[in-house]
């Protein structure tokens, strides 16, 4: 079928070919450019190539490192979720394409689930789009709705893809930080981090196309209150702005807090895309299924992006997810329901992490939701002098140092900030606690040894 031998003398002839073709073009150009003048990237991705995950995941790949970095559970997903998938994979027809905007049984299950939270019925075909992870939903929403010259408000720190996605769409991100009130004596909580309403209002102008909201928040773990969401909703309505609400940690909310959907606020449904994730819902990040829910006049543009980018998502995973949802939809008030049992399980892990970090002398910000915890690590006075690349923010150096010397990895929080404000958050690092007990035990061992060493 292939003519492999074709390549036998190719190296030779290619070199010759290039010379004749490019000889006039390469004059005076550095060696790297001599292949071609035209074969370059599209401008939309200029400067978007660096990625914190690529770098730090590589660092943590060393098996001797306890990885509390990337937000991926190392606990097993619920048994019934795995079983459903195994059964489904045996059905022949489910190995082929399904409906592009979402496998019919999955969008139906999602509509049924979310109708419990919205006052209105949700049209499974017109108001839901199934995507390649919540990441894909974010991309579809931003590509579908954000144009060149638009402004998009991003609350800092932010899940790191928001900024490059907005830039790739040709728009300008406008940042506003969450600011913490001083906390004396008591524990520092994610709810101490708030937006200044005046400051937020000042970020809106006639070019503002959208605001990206993330609740429960990654990396701080903040769960926005009704009042806070009302401020955002009012500003969105007043300024005719869309809201892209990333709610992937919607079920992971701890005692005393409640997750609210901004789309259910008066006047917000028609301007909000709400994004959810199967990976976070059922601890199956590797399935890469997410969804966007919103009014058809917004969703249809996301659908257009979808039909021109991936067209459809994997069929067996969608069917398995639908069936898993039906199990839990039927027992939403039951403590067995994964939406209830997972946060219970994680709350224990969260408290354990809080104690651990406190025992090390840190003052972690106790999260109300999500599966991350951040702490100011500058209190540790780690000696980072042998860390090269002094231009890096403190937390980058610290995480590299900790990974190397303590075999414990985390993610620097300044990765969740834009270039100009990295300094504001460079003392924080993020730990992920959706980890099995043995992983947390290993982390505890490391930290105990660290304490002993310090004293």
């Amino acid at each position: 079928m292939f003519l492999a031998q074709r390549r036998l003398c190719s190296l030779d002839s290619r070199a010759k070919f290039l010379k004749t073709i490019y000889s006039s073009k390469i004059l005076g150009l550095p060696a790297s450019a001599k292949m071609s003048l035209k074969i370059t990237n599209a401008k939309r991705i200029e400067g978007l190539d660096s990625n914190v995950w690529v770098e730090f995941t590589k660092l943590a790949a060393d098996p001797s490192v306890v990885n509390l970095g990337q937000g991926l559970p190392d606990i097993s997903p619920p048994v019934y979720v795995k079983e459903k998938l195994s059964k489904i994979a045996a059905i022949d027809s489910l190995n082929q394409y399904t409906r592009g905007f979402g496998h019919p049984s999955l969008v139906k299950a999602l509509a049924c689930l979310y109708e419990k939270f919205y006052q209105n019925q949700i049209n499974p075909n017109k108001e839901i789009l199934v995507t390649v992870g919540a990441y894909g939903s974010l991309f579809n929403a931003i590509q579908g709705l954000i144009d060149k010259g638009d402004e998009v408000i991003i609350i800092m720190p932010f899940y790191d893809c928001y900024e490059p996605m907005v830039r790739m769409a040709g728009a300008t991100p406008v940042f506003i930080p969450l600011r913490s009130k001083p906390v004396d004596g008591k524990r520092w909580s994610s709810s101490d981090w708030t937006l200044d309403p005046q400051e937020l209002a000042s970020k809106f102008n006639s070019k503002t196309k959208a605001i990206i909201l993330n609740t429960p928040h990654n990396p701080i773990g903040k769960v926005y209150t009704k009042e806070e969401l009302q401020v955002i909703a009012d500003l969105c309505i007043k300024n005719d702005t869309l809201c892209i609400s990333d709610e992937v940690y919607e079920w992971l909310v701890y005692t005393g807090n409640k997750h609210l959907k901004i789309a259910t606020f008066p006047g917000m449904w028609e301007r909000t895309i709400t994004i959810g994730s199967a990976g976070k819902t059922f601890s199956v990040t590797g399935w890469k299924l997410g969804w966007s829910i919103g009014p058809n006049h917004l969703i249809k543009h996301l659908q257009t992006v979808q039909q021109n980018s991936v067209y459809t998502c994997a069929t067996p995973l969608q069917e398995a997810l639908a069936q898993a949802f039906w199990i839990d939809i039927k027992r939403m008030d039951d403590p067995e329901c994964y939406f209830n049992s997972l946060p219970k399980e994680l709350e224990v892990k969260r408290d354990r992490m809080v104690h651990l970090l406190e025992s090390l002398g840190l003052k972690p910000i106790v999260p109300d939701g999500g599966y991350f915890i951040i702490a100011d690590v500058s209190l540790l006075d780690a000696d980072l002098s042998d860390m090269k690349d002094s231009n890096e923010p403190y937390d980058y150096k610290f995480v590299k140092w900790m990974t190397k010397n303590k075999k414990l990895s985390a993610i620097p929080v300044s990765a969740f900030c834009n270039e100009e404000t990295k300094l504001q958050f460079e003392k924080f690092v993020r730990f992920c606690f959706i980890k099995k007990d043995s992983t947390l035990d290993a982390a505890e061992e490391i930290i105990k040894a660290w304490i002993r060493q310090k004293s």
Binding site: I39, A90, Q121, G136, G144, D240, T285, T304, N308, V310
Partner: protein
């Protein structure tokens, strides 16, 4: 400018169109009564300064006679408008330009600034103080005044001939116009489809990004829907209706049941065992050292690889050469990236009498192809074996393409998803294996087509690092990862293929043999009713010439603008129980009218499906007998 009695509207640019206000507009139209009433009332008043205009009514506006007749034409004149004409009467959804502060009157302007059209209703604004009487504003002025906002739209009021009211909710109105609300709060019996139309106007800013202009239509949606509505044998969409091979199914099962960590994220650019096996497998075929980390990117299907390639490499204003007929996504993907598709058509060279037409007779005209290359040409999309034609490009043809790409410093995006499906002793040649081409070629492949598992959505792009690094940037900002288990299953399946390469036990040997039998079966069967298949040398598809039908029954139902093949397929679905895809959708708009006499059939189908096809064709054949 024509004047209309008692009505006036003027657009005053003093108003800041962006400022908010919360106004609910109720428009009611008497159907068949030739009158129209307009009411403006504030809904939730958030601005104290807003005067309450509650229930102010402007009496009746006389409509000219025969208004309904001329309306259907307007749809084409104004692309943003939507029409649903029930032939009885009409109404409209006013463009909601309700973003005002200060005093506001909503006024309906009756009349048409364009000659030849009548009774278009433009909701426009004027200061309340301006007295009635004056000129109808012109459409351009209105648009100018509303620049940056949606253009005025019109639509027809659907439903039966009784009075209806339409509520348009402005931005601040605090209710979602949904089914529940409609039945409770207002006497509108308008179907939900219409409601969404209203909602569409609820945001004054343009909603969708400009990159989506003109790419929202997708022909598959319509034909897939029709195929599911009628009792048909579906030979339309290109997916196998038989299972993947046992070893692939087992590999998938293993991925699901072995390591539970396969339920979690893997490496962003590909599950390591998969990128490694792809590198070694294709490295041998292409005669190229392939680095799994630098020269391989795993994507969400080959479709995802194509999208990533266009986004990464095609910039605004760049030209992309596409060979017609082409897999239909190349054009919108180019457009979405801001590029300009430049089409070059495969030309059919005449065949001997009585000989069956062959896809290999469809050829590129070298002079024409060369003429399409310009200094703006960034890429050429090659698809071999080609969909929908089934053409396998010959070595000479590929050399022509390759030399032009090199001469003009152009990237070749080579879609080779059907590479294993090649028949009659033809050979698939990857253009990347030609001298000097690896450096400028992206070779795109598909596990779905390789292992008959389209639903797994695993594809890949292979190429030099200097191209792939840009694809990786797009990938990490679009989806970041692909699902893990599918990748694990594909990795295992390729290991199987590597071990059995070239042997009778290889799926890449077995599949084309099996599919070849289906092809020949279908070719024979289609001929029995007078469809004239063009024999494909590769792929899942063949196109059949329907020009005999076109001359015998030219007046199939459908829109006059609709290409013949599209009408033929609909007719065939309804009357003959067979679904196919019109070939004109694989052509650029201007060329569709020249290629409206082919339909595409997919033959990668189970034996039972082909038998069902035979039964349908048999019945069709009986009907043909006098």
């Amino acid at each position: 400018m024509k004047k209309w009695k008692g009505q006036k509207s003027c657009v005053d640019r003093r108003y800041s169109l962006w400022k908010r206000t919360c106004v609910r507009v109720c428009v009611s139209a008497g159907v068949r009564t030739s009158c129209l009433q307009v009411k403006v009332a504030p809904a939730t008043v958030e601005e104290e300064s807003l005067p309450v205009l509650s229930q102010q009514t402007w009496g009746s506006i006389p409509l000219p006679d025969g208004t309904a007749n001329s309306l259907e034409k307007i749809a084409n004149a104004y692309p943003t408008s939507s029409f649903l004409d029930n032939g009885i009467s009409f109404g409209f959804a006013a463009e909601v330009l309700l973003c005002f502060s200060g005093t506001l009157t909503l006024e309906l302007c009756v009349g048409d600034p364009r000659p030849g059209l009548r009774a278009i209703f433009w909701p426009v604004f004027s200061s309340i103080s301006s007295a009635p009487g004056g000129e109808v504003t012109s459409v351009p002025r209105l648009w100018e005044a509303c620049s940056g906002m949606w253009q005025p739209s019109i639509c027809i009021w659907p439903g039966s001939s009784r009075e209806r009211r339409l509520e348009l909710l402005s931005l601040g109105a605090c209710t979602r116009l949904g089914r529940g609300l409609l039945s409770e709060k207002s006497p509108i019996a308008t179907p939900p489809t219409f409601c969404s139309l209203c909602l569409q106007f609820a945001m004054a800013k343009r909603l969708q990004a400009r990159r989506l202009d003109g790419i929202d239509h997708n022909p598959w949606v319509e034909f897939s829907r029709m195929a599911s509505e009628y009792d048909v044998v579906n030979l339309g969409q290109g997916f196998p209706d038989f299972p993947p091979p046992d070893f692939a199914v087992q590999a998938f099962q293993l991925a699901l049941s072995s390591d539970f960590m396969l339920n979690q994220y893997t490496k962003a650019f590909g599950y390591p065992p998969l990128t490694e096996i792809l590198a070694s497998f294709f490295g041998k075929l292409l005669g190229q050292e392939i680095d799994p980390l630098k020269n391989v990117l795993v994507t969400v299907g080959a479709y995802g690889a194509l999208f990533t390639a266009f986004q990464a490499l095609v910039d605004e204003g760049d030209e992309v050469i596409i060979i017609e007929p082409f897999f239909d996504c190349y054009e919108p993907m180019t457009l979405m990236a801001g590029g300009r598709p430049v089409f070059v058509t495969l030309k059919l060279s005449p065949t001997q009498d009585g000989e069956l037409d062959s896809a290999s007779n469809w050829q590129l005209d070298p002079t024409e192809l060369a003429s399409k290359f310009t200094s703006r040409t960034k890429a050429l999309v090659l698809n071999t074996p080609n969909n929908p034609l089934g053409k396998v490009f010959s070595e000479a043809e590929l050399e022509l393409v390759a030399s032009l790409c090199q001469q003009h410093d152009v990237i070749c995006i080579s879609d080779e998803v059907y590479q294993w499906l090649v028949y009659d002793g033809h050979q698939h040649i990857s253009i990347a294996s030609l001298p000097g081409m690896w450096e400028r070629t992206l070779t795109i492949g598909s596990a779905g087509k390789s292992f008959s598992a389209t639903g797994w959505k695993v594809g890949w792009a292979l190429g030099p690092d200097r191209l792939l690094k840009h694809l990786r940037t797009v990938h990490q900002n679009t989806i970041y990862h692909c699902p893990t288990q599918g990748q694990a299953a594909v990795a295992q399946s390729f290991q199987h293929e590597q071990a059995h390469f070239g042997q009778a036990s290889s799926y890449f040997v077995q599949l084309p043999e099996a599919v070849l039998r289906s092809r020949d079966h279908m070719v024979r069967s289609l001929q029995s009713v007078g469809l004239r298949p063009v024999i494909p040398q590769g792929s899942y598809f063949l196109i059949a010439d329907i020009s005999d039908f076109k001359s015998k029954m030219p007046d199939l139902p459908g829109d006059a603008e609709e290409p013949y093949d599209s009408r033929f397929v609909k007719w065939m679905i309804r009357n003959k129980g067979l679904a196919a895809i019109p070939a004109s959708i694989f052509y650029s708009m201007p060329h569709r009218k020249h290629f409206d006499h082919y339909v595409r059939f997919c033959f990668v189908k189970d034996e039972s499906t082909l038998q069902a096809m035979d039964e349908k064709l048999q019945r069709w054949k009986t009907e043909l007998r006098p």
